[in-house]
């Protein structure tokens, strides 16, 4: 087996691992509100979301292999490697970028912070691209227009829509019997949360599919004309769908807890308004040429449901911590991506790639073991929120 093939396999395994973290990092975007209000039992919620993510991923037929074009200049319009780029360098950049994305996803998960998985991936790729090619390898205009600006706009838009929705819903049902209202909106919550899960499966699983396709193109075992004629190889869709669904099923309970209990105390009318806002934005935004992160939209919507409910309390401190995490997501993942690339390149070839992979596994294992000390799972995800931050993951 040649060294290049082994590197390709490492890249693919890492991409699948990223897809998995993407799944459990984002379970809360769809299901946190339903779990918090009791519309769905925690296990039922993650199962439903996992199935819908799987279905969503299998629905992906037109996967763009041009995933990196928004942030890097390593691909042509058709998805081929840019002229003059050495295939091994390209694979190293993708690999280092994925490692940066995974590690940042794990750190934020450990802290219970819902940060954007796509930002982590893009950040990692940008850092690795800078390290590998220099500033000319980075698509600065694309980063501003497709990543940075939407990241500031989308939470605000989501917050506004959910606030209006929540206010309307409470105004209209003021005179409805409280118990009846709670039951009715729980059904609404389940419907809207399902829609968010489905949209997540189609959108986010495709990102990893695109990355794997790119790695195969770089290696030379897949051509862009082949993708155009026959679509993506079925095994890629299958594996990515399974990885994101498994991640979703395991549930990022720490993040679910922050989203469902930390920001706002959510009642089912608020939950439905929040998920309806998220679903509407996620489903329509791409049509209007705005690429945005599910996480930013979902968080903005949940905040909005607190703003729109008369007398509700929003924990702005928690929101502030999240916003801070969002701001440093791209630079932090970028630094990790760049360091990984330097390390890979310094050692060189297959030994370099294996070294970085071992570091990734050790770091992931360390964070997993660390998380066991203050475990959050289906049994305590809804425990009362304590404003003393360290106590919230201690139960």
């Amino acid at each position: 087996m040649s060294g290049e093939l082994l590197i390709l396999i490492l890249v693919i395994v890492t991409a699948i691992a990223f897809d998995f973290t993407n799944g459990f990092h984002d379970t809360g975007n769809a299901m946190a509100t339903s779990i918090a209000t009791g519309a769905l039992k925690p296990k039922a919620a993650v199962t439903l979301s996992a199935i819908l993510n799987l279905v969503g991923a299998f629905l992906s037929v037109e996967v763009a292999a041009t995933i990196t074009r928004d942030v890097l200049n390593i691909q042509t319009d058709t998805g081929d490697l840019a002229l003059g780029l050495d295939p091994q360098t390209a694979m190293m950049i993708i690999f280092a970028g994925l490692v940066g994305g995974i590690l940042w996803n794990l750190i934020t998960w450990l802290l219970g912070l819902p940060s954007s998985s796509s930002h982590a991936l893009f950040g990692g790729l940008i850092g690795a691209g800078l390290a590998g090619i220099g500033t000319a390898g980075v698509n600065w205009g694309g980063i501003m227009a497709k990543v940075v600006v939407p990241a500031f706009l989308s939470p605000a838009i989501a917050c506004a829509i959910a606030a209006v929705g929540t206010w309307l819903v409470y105004a209209l049902t003021k005179r409805v019997n409280a118990k009846r209202r709670e039951t009715g909106f729980r059904w609404g919550q389940i419907g809207t949360a399902s829609l968010v899960s489905l949209a997540h499966g189609t959108g986010d699983a495709q990102k990893t599919m695109g990355v794997i396709a790119l790695a195969l193109i770089a290696h030379g075992s897949l051509t862009t004309t082949n993708i155009e004629e026959h679509g993506l190889p079925v095994w890629i869709i299958f594996v990515c769908g399974l990885a994101i669904a498994l991640g979703t099923y395991l549930g990022g309970w720490r993040i679910i807890r922050t989203l469902g209990k930390g920001l706002v105390e959510i009642d089912s009318p608020q939950g439905m308004a929040a998920e309806a806002s998220s679903a509407a934005i996620i489903l329509t935004s791409s049509t209007f040429g705005m690429a945005l992160s599910t996480t930013h939209v979902a968080t903005g919507s949940i905040l909005g449901s607190g703003v729109g409910k008369p007398g509700a309390q929003v924990r702005w401190g928690v929101a502030g911590r999240m916003a801070a995490a969002w701001l440093i997501t791209m630079p932090a993942a970028g630094i990790v991506g760049a360091l990984c690339f330097f390390l890979e390149n310094g050692i060189g070839g297959l030994p370099g790639a294996i070294t970085v992979f071992v570091i990734l596994v050790v770091a992931a294992l360390y964070m997993y073991l660390h998380s066991r000390r203050q475990k959050v799972d289906a049994s305590n995800v809804n425990a009362d929120w304590d404003d003393n931050v360290s106590a919230n993951t201690a139960r």
Partner: protein, 96 residues
């Protein structure tokens, strides 16, 4: 390396997302809420749980509103799956 950022274009798409989002993301929950209000009126159960007179017309109105919401959600599902429907069954929806 060019910084071709079109502020006006970004602003316009943001405005579009906001408007459509308000219509669907806030409008549909509002319709659902209105349906629930009518449903309560129709069943004659008041806020405090006491029972007064049933109102079949309000109940019909409630179910009509619920159907609108459900149809909108189904349209949403078809919208997400539009490319797959086209790919596997040749059904073109929402202009392809």
């Amino acid at each position: 390396m060019t910084m071709d950022i079109n502020i006006a274009e970004i602003g316009l798409s943001a405005l579009r997302v906001l408007c459509v989002g308000l219509l669907l993301g806030a409008g549909l929950p509002a319709l659902f809420a209105l349906g629930m209000r009518l449903h309560a009126v129709g069943s004659g159960v008041a806020e405090d749980g006491t029972f007064s007179r049933r109102n079949p017309l309000a109940t019909i109105g409630a179910y009509l509103l619920y159907s609108v919401v459900i149809l909108a959600v189904l349209a949403g599902v078809l919208f997400v799956t539009r490319h797959s429907l086209d790919h596997y069954f040749g059904i073109t929806l929402f202009g392809g």
